[in-house]
């Protein structure tokens, strides 16, 4: 941060104009640069980021990278062990497992992405409302307490029982089960800065609530939200895969990873690779999110400054 500040003092622009607009922007930029610098020194976090980027790249460009189409069945190629022609072997229909994992990643990662997005939007909204408008706090937190009385996966399973099995409903269920912990984190972050002088100051200036929330509250609670969201990604992918494994989420023949592990379990003694590799994919992606999340928590921790 120090380096940046001296830099713009040397700047040739007229100083008055600088004072009027620039400082705020420079400072906030420098903060994220600092965070990135700290994060990039963390080997574990960078390892997680690399694994994640490899997976995202492989999954997004699956149709270019995958050596075989997902549903190309060949009877004579059934249950082939991993080899040069089929990197991760083939399944009971002679389909290439490596190709199916790449394509299936689109479903698994998308399930994670959509349920996390849903949980984030609802969680932040409710958390900010509960923390900022104390009158609604009691009600919102009571509802969250009720939702938290169920172990997350059980809640997701009961919600699916109501909505019916399937991809969309599994994502909704995972999101609903994730909302309470989100609300708690956001609410306590809002509570901790709500009483700060600068919030009091903007309130005294008569600035509207939505502006206070979007300009002054949200940017200041970004750190816990980023960490929470990263870790939640891993957790949601894990829950979504578990639901698919139970037959409540993505349905076979969809190459969703949890569903692939489920299908493979009947062929374990003849073709262990059918279950091993999709499960390994789930573990690696979740591991990557956890590694990155841990690193972000350390990098965003103000105590380390």
């Amino acid at each position: 941060m120090n380096g940046k500040v001296t830099e713009w003092h040397v700047d040739t622009n007229p100083p008055i104009q600088l004072l009027a607009q620039e400082p705020k922007q420079v400072e906030s930029q420098a903060y994220w640069i600092l965070v990135w610098k700290r994060l990039s020194k963390n080997i574990t976090a960078m390892g997680g980021l690399v694994i994640l980027l490899l997976f995202i790249g492989g999954v997004v460009f699956a149709s270019y990278i995958a050596p075989y189409p997902i549903d190309q069945m060949k009877f004579e190629d059934r249950l082939l062990a991993p080899s040069a022609t089929h990197l991760l072997g083939t399944d009971d229909f002679g389909r290439d497992i490596f190709s199916r994992i790449l394509h299936g990643g689109q479903i698994s990662l998308m399930m994670g992405l959509i349920s996390v997005t849903l949980a984030t939007v609802v969680g932040i909204t409710l958390g900010v409302i509960a923390g900022f408008y104390r009158k609604l706090d009691m009600f919102i937190m009571q509802v969250m307490d009720i939702l938290m009385s169920f172990p997350a996966l059980l809640l997701a399973i009961v919600i699916i029982a109501v909505l019916g099995a399937g991809l969309t409903n599994a994502m909704i269920a995972v999101a609903i089960a994730a909302i309470p912990s989100y609300v708690r984190v956001v609410r306590s972050a809002v509570l901790s800065i709500r009483e700060k002088e600068y919030i009091e100051a903007v309130q005294a200036l008569g600035i509207r609530d939505y502006k206070i929330i979007s300009r002054h509250i949200i940017p200041n609670i970004l750190s816990p939200i980023i960490v929470m969201t990263t870790l939640l990604f891993g957790e949601s992918i894990l829950s979504a895969a578990a639901l698919s494994f139970l037959g409540l989420g993505a349905q076979p023949p969809a190459p969703e990873w949890g569903a692939m592990v489920f299908v493979g379990r009947t062929f374990l003694s003849q073709a262990w690779w059918m279950s091993l590799f999709p499960g390994l994919a789930i573990m690696l992606v979740v591991l990557a999110f956890n590694m990155l999340g841990d690193g972000l928590r350390d990098a965003l921790d103000p105590k380390q400054n």
Binding site: L147, P151, V162, G234, W272, S275, I282
Partner: protein, 306 residues
């Protein structure tokens, strides 16, 4: 203290009431006609309607809820449509398995987790520390159903050391307990490590070192004793969620615990069972969590004044 306990107890009752309403509503929204399920495809409409009147299913929802609540308070959870036995009896039959499984996993997870966490903290930044960090991360990242599958394959199918599935006594619980403890070990080791690292920096640790306390006693009686409080909370939370049914693990190992029973009941649309079991699981989970909070407030009195 009494005021705090009373406050927590009242809010517990409120939460449980909310839970009962939520469970009741969700269960009633489950599509499919339970009466048609019991009576079979060929039952006439008149017979089905008569049965509905007999079961009180023709009443308005709110009447049904209060009826359900009144019977629940008296300990009557209804009768399972699958087995014809009362739901309460089914729970009593199955809960011991879930309870044992939870105990074994928590014991295994706490012992290994705390030990690994302490070692990692004492040997901070060494190869051993990195190995433990990575192992814990893998423990919390690996899908339980996948681990379970390969444990069964290797230790039950290939080596034949344990039964493949079902419940035949203690040996049937070893592999499920190992599966579940991996997650606990990961969580507990991480928490122990970071809590120990905080404690190691404290002045009293330096004092202990200065007065020449042997290093093992320093680590365990000065260090761990102070670092263990948040870890105990975490262990309690893990125990609570395991008691509420390790749904997936019980399903994979075909253990007749309450988690497995809940899944079976949901898939068979056995409404009274789903209602009773889910409510029971939520209650256990809530009560265990409340107990942890209260124990914690004894240990750390600051909590009570928040």
């Amino acid at each position: 203290m009494q005021k705090y306990l009373l406050k927590r107890f009242v809010s517990l009752l409120g939460t449980l009431l909310g839970v009962s309403i939520l469970v009741f509503l969700m269960v009633h929204m489950i599509p499919g006609d339970p009466v048609r399920y019991i009576m079979g495809e060929y039952a006439t409409d008149e017979a089905i309607n008569a049965m509905k009147v007999q079961l009180g299913l023709d009443q308005p929802l709110i009447v049904q809820y209060f009826d359900f609540l009144a019977r629940f308070i008296q300990g009557d959870l209804g009768t399972s449509l699958m087995t014809g036995i009362t739901v309460w009896e089914e729970i009593v039959n199955r809960f011991p398995i879930t309870f044992q499984l939870a105990c074994y996993s928590v014991i295994l997870g706490s012992v290994l987790g705390v030990l690994m966490g302490v070692i990692a903290a004492v040997k901070q930044n060494t190869l051993l520390d990195r190995f433990i960090i990575m192992f814990s991360l893998i423990g919390i990242s690996a899908p339980g159903f996948w681990i379970a599958l390969f444990l069964i394959w290797v230790f039950a199918y290939k080596l034949g050391w344990f039964p493949i599935s079902g419940y035949e006594g203690f040996f049937s619980l070893v592999l499920p307990a190992v599966t579940l403890s991996l997650l606990s070990i990961g969580n507990i080791a991480r928490m122990t490590r970071s809590s120990m690292l905080d404690v190691i920096k404290q002045d009293y640790m330096r004092t202990a070192e200065a007065k020449g306390a042997p290093s093992l006693s320093r680590v365990f009686s000065h260090g761990l004793q102070n670092a263990i409080i948040p870890v105990i909370t975490l262990i309690g939370i893990q125990f609570g969620s395991l008691l509420a049914g390790a749904v997936i693990t019980e399903t994979v190992f075909a253990l007749p615990g309450i988690g497995n029973f809940a899944i079976e009941a949901i898939s068979k649309r056995d409404i009274p069972t789903v209602q009773g079991v889910v409510l029971f699981m939520a209650m256990i989970y809530t009560v265990v969590n409340l107990t942890i909070d209260i124990v914690y407030s004894f240990v750390d009195p600051r909590i009570r004044y928040e």
